[in-house]
C-alpha cells in the first residue's frame, strides 16, 4: 500500500468528512428537533435479557460437574450460604446459552496468543465451548487420578484438583486448564451476586449475605443519616418478597 494518499482517496475522504459533518445536523434536526423523533413508544420497556428455564447449554453430566466446582469455590458452611444455595449453576447454564457463551460481544478472530493476565480472555474458544472442552478433560483427569469423576470426589480431593488447576500443575490437552479455572471462578462469583433475574443469587441470598440492598438507585432520603446503618430489604430487578402482600 502506497504511503501517500491518492487524490481520489483524499477526495473521497473529504466527501466522507463533510457528509459526516453535515448529516448529523440534518438527522438531528429532523429526528430530535422538537423531541418528536426521540424513540419512545408505549409499552416498549427495554427488558434485560436473562434467558429462561428452557434456555440451557450444559448437558446433565456437565451440570453436575459445574455444580460441584462452584460449590467448592463458594462453599456452604457455618459462615453462610454458598454457590449451591444461590443456584449458581443455573446462572452459568443460561449465560453459556446466550450471547455471553457465544463470545458474541468479544473480538473472536485470530491470531490467538496467550497474552498477559491484564489482557483478559484470550482463548480462541468462546466461553461455552471452553466449558464443553474442559469439563470432560477434568473428569478424565479425576478418573485417572482418583478413579471417579470430579463430582464424586471428597471435598478435600476436589479442592486439591482445583488448586492444581489454579497453580497450573494440571493441564488439559485441548484448552488451557488455567483459563478454564479462572473463568469458572469469575462466573461463580457473578452467579452468586448477579441479579436473581439471571438465574443465580436465588432469593438474593448473596446480597443478604453481604448486606447489599440490591437494585436501588435513590438514597436521597438517607443523605443525612450520619453513618447509621440503613436496613433496607434487598430488591431485585423483579422486586422482592416485600412487594407482595404478606
Amino acid at each position: 500500500m502506497a504511503p501517500v494518499m491518492s487524490r481520489r482517496a483524499a477526495l473521497k475522504g473529504l466527501i466522507m468528512t463533510t457528509t459526516a459533518l453535515a448529516l448529523p445536523g440534518v438527522v438531528l434536526g429532523r429526528e430530535y428537533g422538537r423531541g418528536a423523533g426521540v424513540p419512545w413508544e408505549p409499552g416498549a420497556a427495554d427488558i434485560p435479557y436473562y434467558g429462561t428455564r428452557d434456555e440451557g447449554f450444559l448437558t446433565e453430566a456437565e451440570l453436575t460437574t459445574v455444580r460441584a466446582i462452584a460449590a467448592r469455590i463458594i462453599p456452604s458452611d457455618e459462615d453462610g450460604p454458598g454457590a449451591a444455595e444461590a443456584d449458581v449453576v443455573t446462572f452459568i447454564d443460561r449465560q453459556l446459552a446466550g450471547f455471553y457463551g457465544r463470545g458474541q460481544h468479544w473480538y473472536m478472530q485470530g491470531p490467538f496468543h496467550e497474552g498477559l493476565s491484564t489482557q483478559g480472555y484470550q482463548s480462541e474458544h468462546p466461553p461455552a465451548q471452553l466449558y464443553r472442552l474442559a469439563l470432560p478433560e477434568l473428569d478424565t483427569y479425576c478418573d485417572a487420578q482418583y478413579g471417579s469423576r470430579f463430582s464424586s470426589l471428597s471435598e478435600a480431593n476436589q479442592d486439591a484438583v482445583l488448586t492444581g488447576l489454579d497453580e497450573e500443575e494440571i493441564t488439559f490437552e485441548t484448552v488451557s486448564a488455567k483459563t478454564f479455572f479462572d473463568l469458572i471462578v469469575e462466573n461463580t462469583i457473578e452467579g452468586f451476586f448477579a441479579d436473581p433475574i439471571y438465574g443465580g443469587n436465588r432469593d438474593m441470598i448473596g446480597w443478604r449475605y453481604v448486606g447489599f440492598p440490591g437494585a436501588r438507585y435513590d438514597y436521597r432520603d438517607f443523605v443525612g443519616h450520619n453513618g447509621a446503618r440503613i436496613d433496607l430489604p434487598p430488591v431485585s430487578l423483579m422486586g422482592g418478597p416485600h412487594w407482595t402482600r404478606q
Partner: protein
C-alpha cells in the same frame, strides 16, 4: 393568498391604504380562521396521524364505543374533500351536524360544541380551509354495527342530546371569563373528552368537565374551583400546562399531549388565561370518602412505591415540579376512574415536546415486572397516601387494562 399577504403588507405600510382594505380583511379573515382551526385542533382528528397522513386530509380512525369512524377530508378537493361545499353548507355542518348531501353527521364530529360558534367564526374557518392544497384522499368506510350505519338514526340521537344553541355571554362575568367559556364550550370542545358521556355517547350535563373516559384513557376532572380536579392549580399553572406542556403538577402525555402539541401551545396568552379563569370558576362536589385499604396492601404498595417510584416521584410524594409529577394531590392519580394511572404504570408515558420544552420526559413501562396485584396495591396505596383520599383499585381493574392494551 400570496398576493393578499403582499397587499396586506403594503397596506400596513400605508402605501395603498384605500384599495387594499377588502384584501386586508380577507387576509385577516383567513388568519382568524387559521387560529380557530388551531384552537379547535381540527388537524388532530382530520389527519391520519398513525400513518403520517397529509394534514387535514382525514382518514384517522376514531375508536368510539360504537365502532370506528373515519374522519373526513377537509381539503378543498372536489371529489374526496369539501371542494364543492359552499359557505352555507359548511355552516350547516358546523351548526347542525348535517353534511352537504343533507345526511346526518355522527357526533364524533363535535358539532354539538361548534354549534355555539357565531357565523363569522365558522366562515373564517371555512375561508382558511379553502386556502389548503386540495388533496385527493379516499376515506375508508366507517366500521359501525348495522343500526348505526343508518345515518337518519342520528336524527333521533340529536333530538335527545343536541341543541342548536348560540353563545350567550353572562353579563355578570368578566370578558375574560366569557371568552374562556366560549372557547371551552365551543371551538376547543374540552368537554368532548373531559365531560362524562351517557351510554349513547351524549354529554351528561351533571358530569360537565368532571372527567370522561375515552379509548380507555380517563380525561381528568378539569373543574378548577373548590373540590374540582384542578382545585390546587393556579391560573398560571393551567396556562403553563397548555402553553409550555410543562407545569408544576404534571405534563400532558399521550392524548392531551397531542392537544397541547398541535393546538393550545399556539394559542394566545389571553385566550389561555381566559380558559383558566373560566375553569377556576367551576366548583365541584366533595369526593366520595374512601374506605382505607388493609395493612398488608399498604405495606406491599408502599414498598413498591419506595423501591420503584420514589427515585423520581420522591419518597414524600412531592416529585420534582415541572419534571417528575408530584403524586401528593395529583388529580390524575386520584381520579374517580383510575384508568389513566393504571395505564401509565403498565405502558409508561411520554410528556409531549413543545416549543417551550423540547425535552420529551418519559416514564418507563412496568408491565413486564409488576403483577396485576402489585400494580393494584401500589395504585391503591398512592391513592390514599399523604393528602390523597381516593377509592382503592382491584387487581381485576389492572388485568382488564392489561388485556385491553395487549389487544390494541
Amino acid at each position: 393568498m400570496r398576493n393578499s399577504v403582499i397587499l396586506a403588507a403594503l397596506a400596513a405600510a400605508g402605501l395603498v391604504a384605500g384599495t387594499a382594505q377588502a384584501q386586508e380583511l380577507a387576509y385577516s379573515q383567513v388568519e382568524r380562521g387559521r387560529y380557530l382551526v388551531t384552537a379547535g385542533n381540527c388537524a388532530a382528528c382530520h389527519t391520519d396521524m398513525e400513518n403520517d397522513g397529509t394534514p387535514f386530509a382525514g382518514g384517522r380512525g376514531l375508536d368510539t364505543p360504537f365502532g370506528v369512524i373515519y374522519s373526513r377530508n377537509l381539503t378543498p378537493d372536489e371529489e374526496t374533500g369539501i371542494g364543492l361545499w359552499s359557505r352555507d353548507d359548511f355552516y350547516r355542518a358546523m351548526n347542525e351536524g348535517v353534511n352537504r348531501e343533507g345526511q346526518q353527521l355522527y357526533p364524533a364530529f363535535p358539532y354539538t360544541y361548534f354549534t355555539i360558534m357565531p357565523r363569522e367564526d365558522v366562515d373564517a374557518v371555512y375561508d382558511y380551509l379553502r386556502t389548503l392544497e386540495p388533496v385527493r384522499a379516499e376515506i375508508p368506510e366507517n366500521e359501525l354495527p348495522l343500526p348505526l350505519r343508518f345515518r337518519p338514526a342520528v336524527a333521533g340521537w340529536k333530538m335527545l342530546f343536541f341543541e342548536d344553541r348560540e353563545f350567550v355571554p353572562d353579563p355578570a362575568q368578566s370578558d375574560a371569563w366569557n371568552r374562556g367559556r366560549y372557547l371551552v364550550d365551543g371551538p376547543t370542545h374540552c368537554g368532548a373528552c373531559h365531560t362524562g358521556k351517557n351510554l349513547l355517547g351524549g354529554d351528561r350535563e351533571a358530569e360537565y368537565l368532571r372527567g370522561g373516559t375515552l379509548e380507555n384513557w380517563f380525561a381528568p376532572n378539569i373543574r378548577g374551583g373548590e373540590n374540582g380536579g384542578l382545585a390546587q392549580w393556579e391560573i398560571g399553572d393551567i396556562v403553563e400546562f397548555l402553553r409550555d406542556g410543562r407545569a408544576r403538577h404534571t405534563a400532558p402525555m399521550q392524548r392531551m399531549g397531542e392537544v397541547v402539541g398541535l393546538s393550545t401551545q399556539h394559542m394566545t396568552q389571553e385566550d389561555l388565561e381566559a380558559i383558566a379563569i373560566y375553569l377556576k370558576s367551576l366548583n365541584d362536589e366533595p369526593p366520595q370518602a374512601a374506605d382505607p385499604i388493609t395493612e398488608d396492601r399498604v405495606a406491599a404498595g408502599r414498598s413498591i412505591f419506595f423501591d420503584e417510584c420514589a427515585a423520581c416521584h420522591a419518597a414524600d410524594g412531592s416529585g420534582v415540579p415541572y419534571i417528575f409529577a408530584p403524586l401528593d394531590g395529583s388529580n390524575k392519580l386520584t381520579a374517580e376512574d383510575p384508568s389513566t394511572v393504571i395505564r401509565i404504570i403498565l405502558e409508561g408515558a411520554q410528556a409531549v415536546p413543545t416549543e417551550a420544552a423540547l425535552g420529551p420526559l418519559a416514564m418507563p413501562a412496568f408491565d413486564w415486572k409488576l403483577s396485576d396485584e402489585q400494580i393494584a396495591d401500589v395504585v391503591s396505596y398512592l391513592r390514599q397516601a399523604w393528602s390523597n383520599n381516593a377509592i382503592a383499585v382491584s387487581a381485576s381493574d389492572v388485568a382488564d387494562m392489561r388485556s385491553y392494551l395487549e389487544e390494541h
